[in-house]
């Protein structure tokens, strides 16, 4: 019996480094990529901080895992929904975030943005379509 593909939603609501949730949830996403499901990541509340560019942990002696987000495109994880209101409430714009891209093999390997800026209302609709929600 074959299983149909499910829509997996990974909910990211916490800042990086203060707790391990951001990093360990990314580890789930990477392993999950091998299972060929339809994956989306949602970044809201403090989760938007995970994508901020210029993270430098050299003085805090914690592993800097921010470059792992850049690899997501290679794992076919291309839908990173960032909630607009959460960014604004934290004084951030898209320009503050890492430029995350993926290469679309169906479009002559054109480089496309993985970060999709959405409003709360749009993200609520996107969440409504998902089959399985992971929270960390």
């Amino acid at each position: 019996m074959s299983e149909s593909i499910k829509k997996f939603m990974y909910l990211n609501r916490r800042a990086p480094y203060g707790t391990i949730y951001a990093w360990e949830s990314l580890e789930v996403v990477l392993i999950g990529a091998a299972f060929d499901q339809d994956v989306s990541l949602a970044f809201l509340d403090d989760g938007v901080f995970q994508l901020v560019d210029g993270q430098d942990t050299s003085d805090s002696d914690i592993k800097n895992f921010s470059s792992t987000y850049k690899a997501l495109g290679d794992y076919d994880v291309t839908k990173l929904y960032v909630e607009k209101e959460s960014l604004e409430e934290r004084g951030l714009t898209l320009d503050d975030l890492m430029p995350l891209t993926w290469e679309d093999e169906d479009d002559d390997w054109a480089e496309k943005d993985s970060i999709r800026l959405v409003s709360r209302a749009e993200l609520a609709d996107i969440m409504d379509e998902q089959d399985v929600h992971f929270s960390f």
Partner: protein, 130 residues
């Protein structure tokens, strides 16, 4: 209905594992299947055999072990999270040259693929965290 449970926090520190336990028990009592309970983040600490809680309080680890035994539950502790926090079985003890193992009865250490598989195969994933 086939349930999969994810537990993100350790025993006593947060109520998450208590809630997960009571939910699991109720689901089984209602005739549902609980295909796996996956322990992640500090949740792996539910799998140590070395706790000695006070006599007048619930024994969280033993409670999970007993439920697993009674219902043939699959209690899985994530290997990466377990390595970070020192939950060790025979295999991990040998592989990482540790002086002891401490995995509790009924728990097994395995990879994150078990969580993803649970998400794929179950009808409902229920996450308990903080």
């Amino acid at each position: 209905m086939k349930f999969a449970i994810q537990v993100n926090e350790g025993p006593y520190q947060h109520q998450a594992t208590d809630s997960a336990y009571h939910f699991t028990k109720a689901a089984l009592a209602a005739g549902h299947e609980v295909m796996r309970v996956f322990f992640y983040h500090d949740g792996v600490n539910n799998g140590t055999c070395l706790t000695t809680p006070p006599q007048d309080d619930r024994n969280i680890v033993n409670r999970w072990s007993e439920l697993a035994k009674a219902h043939d539950l699959d209690l899985v502790v994530c290997v990466a999270a377990a390595q970070r926090r020192g939950i060790v079985d025979e295999g991990e003890m040998q592989r990482n040259s540790k002086s002891a193992q401490n995995i509790a009865d009924g728990f097994r250490i395995s990879g994150l693929g078990q969580l993803i598989e649970a998400g794929v195969q179950s009808d409902r994933l229920v996450v308990f965290g903080d």
